[in-house]
Amino acid sequence: MASATGQIGTAAAASRAPVHQYVAFAVMVLLLVAAPFAIYPIFIMKVLCFALFACAFNLLIGYVGLLSFGHAAFLGAAGYITGHAAKVWGLTPELAIVAGVATSAVLGLVVGALAIRRQGIYFAMITLALAQMLYFFCLQAPFTGGEDGIQAIPRGRLFGLIDLSDMMTLYVVVVIIFLAGFLLIYRTIHSPFGQVLKAIRENEPRAVSLGYDVDRYKLVAFVLSAALSGLAGATKVLVFQLASLTDVHWAMSGEVVLMALVGGLGTIFGPVAGAVVIISLQNYLAQLGAWVTVVQGVIFVLCVLAFRRGIMGELGRLLKRPF
């Protein structure tokens, strides 16, 4: 397994999806159907938004080998645009989400075009710096409401028909958005395009010599990842009815790295597991008080030192099947 030799991400999964992944997927869907009857639905929706965000992030780190430290920019920017579109322009939720996702995609194109000029650590630092720039922009731009954020964003009616203020309706919509995003990522990874991405991760010069326009592939992957992060951010805004600076701050970029790392970089279900763990932890620690950042830091250190495959990576190794 590649992560054991120090490569970020695990070895390429089989190109055709094996049965056990279908089983895992079915289990996940069943859990999602059952969960709202046992757990507070808003909490699950939050987890799903972050799970999608982490999956989008993982597409880059796990399958192209690019560590973006600025993914909060895409989550937050889409959130602000969606919130503004729904509240001020009065768009229906689906159009507001489309506006948010489009914004993130364009932003991803710009950031990606700059960042893929360098590799490895530089790539991480560039994405971080550009995201910080966007943070300052959001802080100063009048429409974001500065530190007040955009509040009381209406959930509205989907397609002008379905009232999203009902909790269970909203839950179903969020689950559908999450599954759609998840499956899109899954398809991408297992497509010929995904194979080229993995080839780039494993050996970039070789991919170049085989005649692939590596930069183009990286850029497309980056834009896709940014757009899906945007989808997560836009959905989150509808769930919480607010968009705030938290989502564009670098700490959020760090959190998504942590989710993917805990769950398992380069695994399909890992980021979902990671999001469940980290968000539950945040919720639990909220009652504990002051130790949140310390605990997160300790998890980071432990994962890097002793648990690099993450939850799903370890599980996959135990069962000898990639998740």
Partner: protein
């Protein structure tokens, strides 16, 4: 010409001087990052947190041991440097052969821990630290009032930067270091203890951060989050300069300080983003950085 773009030249000159002071911090911090990166191939995300630790150690020394600024300037880098060496031996060493990105993640985690601990124990509003009496006051240069302490900051950091450059580029010790950067196995074969050199180098890079922290203590509020945002700017400085050369990171640090200083006069709203904009432009024109070697 009495005015440039509506600003009298005296004011402009004053701002350049102030920019230079900010640049001094960027230079010392990015130099530390470059030294560490050279040998360990790690981007030390904990650099900002260790800079903060340096400032706090100065405060400890004063509050608990009654040791003043000058002792702090000497002892704090030593103490934090030692802490760095412990971290290197116990943690960073274990991931030496892995993808460099793991180093970034590990040090990011360390930064969170260090900042969180300080916040838990010392609160978020910070601690007072005074300018040493010897450097209090200032001189009126005609065009501006220059506090003595600021002049000292520029002088001290220039000396430290140039000293570091001299050691690495012009001495035998430095040549070992550079050789180990190129080919550690070969250097090891010549009988030089490379792991020890790695530890000492990390300790030295971290000591530079602590040194900057002590310099900063009397002018910036000593608080747990003082290094958190700074490190991102320093990353941008490093990207702009490229990590290929020691002198490069020094020149870039001071240069960007001036650019930022001038932005504060002409368009203050953008002064926090100007370095990131410069970074974007440099990436478009010279992706390897101003002083970098193409990867």
């Amino acid at each position: 010409m009495t005015e440039l773009l509506g600003i009298p030249p005296q004011v402009l000159f004053g701002q350049v001087l102030l920019g230079l002071i900010n640049g001094a911090f960027y230079a010392v911090l990015s130099l530390g990052l470059a030294v560490i990166f050279g040998l360990l191939n790690i981007i030390n995300f904990a650099h900002g947190a260790l800079y903060m630790t340096g400032a706090f150690v100065a405060w400890f020394l004063l509050s608990y041991l009654g040791l003043g600024y000058w002792w702090a300037l000497l002892l704090s880098p030593v103490i934090v440097g030692a802490l760095g060496m412990v971290l290197e031996r116990t943690l960073l060493k274990r991931i030496a052969n892995l993808d460099h990105l793991y180093g970034l993640l590990l040090t990011f985690g360390l930064a969170l821990i260090i900042q969180g601990l300080f916040r838990n124990y010392f609160g978020s509003s910070g601690q007072p630290y005074q300018i040493p009496p010897l450097l209090a006051g200032g001189h009126n240069l005609g065009f501006m009032f220059l506090p003595n302490y600021r002049a000292w900051v520029v002088a001290a950091s220039l000396v430290v930067c140039l000293g570091t450059w001299f050691v690495i580029e012009r001495t035998k010790l430095g040549s070992y270091l550079r050789a180990a950067t190129e080919n550690p196995v070969m250097v090891q074969a010549f009988g030089i203890d490379v792991p020890r050199m790695v530890t000492l180098t990390y300790g030295f890079g971290v000591a530079l951060a602590a040194f900057a922290g002590v310099l900063a203590a009397p002018i910036y509020q000593v608080s747990p989050q003082m290094g958190a945002d700074l490190i991102i700017v320093v990353f941008a400085v490093v990207v702009i300069g490229g990590m290929g050369s020691i002198l490069g990171s020094i020149v870039t640090g001071f240069g960007l300080g001036i650019v930022e200083g001038l932005t504060k006069v002409f368009y203050p709203e953008a002064s926090s983003t100007v370095i990131f904009i410069v970074m974007a432009i440099v990436l478009l024109i010279k992706p390897a950085g101003l002083f970098g070697r193409a990867a």
